[in-house]
Symmetry: C2
Subunit: 240 residues, 2 copies
DNA sequence: ACAGGAATATGTACTTTTCACACATTACAG
DNA sequence: CTGTAATGTGTGAAAAGTACATATTCCTGT
């Protein structure tokens, strides 16, 4: 904002301009049962009875915008140090029935099997992204926008590891890519491309308790501090 | 925003939450004298005396967020139907000295030689992006973020035509790419890549008044309605 | 103990894309 | 009409991406 004092501005009252509430909404992705899931809460608004909505909250008066989604994540999942990426800000007049609210959407990648993870509210649950038809507010559009950005990001940046436990097999990794992109990948080419990128460390360990030949286990290269909290606009998606 | 009524929310007063002002800031790019320029205004705030800032304004109470940058462009340049792309929302607590203001940044591509273009304010002027060191507020960061996004976008999407007049030569087009990307391009490979993309229509006309062999003139393929006002989050950058 | 099943691991030929690079042509200027 | 400065075009080499088949390992069931 450059000019608080343009003529046009001064004509309007202070009251008007501080009548817009600011919120954040989090599209929290996880990977379970071979599917990409998103964390949703039952809407408690009459207008959206029976519908689910994203997890969000108003931005506090003494809270940086970027703090807010971390707080929401923390409050809702117990997780901190999650991967978050700002996606888009939605601000149509009629998007919220209770008043003027603009919202900044973030997507987050979490491992729902992490020991720290716990859902603190009964009405919050995981939903496969593919089977969602209608959400409260404009949240379906927000979700679709985030999903699109995730798909773009995932090919270029080593962020999917945030969906997985510390140790994982190449098969699990490939399954995630397939779930996110919605396409099948050739196993040999997938592994080759991945090895070229040098994102992985071979742990020289094997899967256990699988009903078939166990695969090798890998972890993400430690230098990929993908879930740090560097300013998002700088490019949190590390390019290796 | 999903839940207006969480416990945490209700504890805080209405007053608090409507104390955040919402603005937009426009990084308005043009191409002149072989350089990428950005439109800036002298800051009228004491804190930023002598510094320039981006063109922005508060979002009106009855104005869609996405309307606001179009309005700013219209008011400041006389242009409508410009190309605009939302980039990022900046909302740190201390970013505006006069109070809590979060701002959504857009970049815009305009042709400053368009007949409709006119600057309506003496303190508004073009500046080469490369020579800018310090701007008011966090506007240098905003500018850098927009420039980065422009660089990414320009390789994939046919948006640079918005910087050019209706008719242009391949040389002019290449100059723009070089100015935006900050690198030199091989002429033959550049032309080849472009022809493959099928973005151009050969006008079978020639440059005039050039001090050397004239080049052929082209225009952007009409189906690239790049400056339409489709919802930004859908993907305004047409993929051909 | 062993055979069968199911998934892992790996290499090679082919195609497409990217990149580096040189020479003939045209119009204007003097 | 000659020199200059830019336009216009093609080819070969390297790199990246794609398609594809066989051998191996471990678990399971008999």
């Amino acid at each position: 904002m450059g000019q608080l004092k343009t003529a046009a501005t001064e004509r309007r009252s202070h009251q008007d301009f501080f009548n817009i509430a600011v919120s954040v909404d989090c599209v929290i992705f996880s990977y379970q049962d071979k599917a990409l899931k998103v964390l949703l809460i039952k809407s408690d608004l009459k207008e959206f009875e029976g519908l689910y909505s994203l997890l969000g909250d108003l931005v506090g008066p003494d809270e940086d915008l970027e703090e807010a989604p971390y707080r929401v994540l923390q409050e809702r999942t117990g997780l901190h140090d999650v991967y978050l990426e700002q996606v888009h800000t939605f601000g149509n007049i009629g998007r919220h029935p209770s008043g003027r609210v603009i919202t900044t959407a973030y997507f987050s990648l979490v491992n729902s099997k992490s020991s720290n993870f716990q859902i603190t509210h009964d009405d919050v649950s995981w939903h496969p992204v593919n089977s969602l038809k209608k959400l409260a507010f404009d949240h379906k559009i927000i979700l679709d926008t985030c999903l699109k950005q995730l798909r773009d990001a995932v090919m270029e940046h080593p962020i999917v590891f945030n969906l997985l436990p510390e140790k994982f097999s190449l098969r699990e990794l490939q399954d995630i890519y397939e779930a996110i992109l919605g396409i099948e990948l050739d196993r040999r080419n997938f592994r080759k491309r991945l090895m070229v990128k040098d994102w992985l460390v071979d742990l020289a360990e094997m899967e256990e308790d699988v009903p078939h030949r166990p695969g090798k286990l890998y972890k993400a290269r430690p230098s990929l501090k993908k879930n740090g909290r560097a300013p998002l606009h700088i490019d949190q998606r590390l390019v290796v």
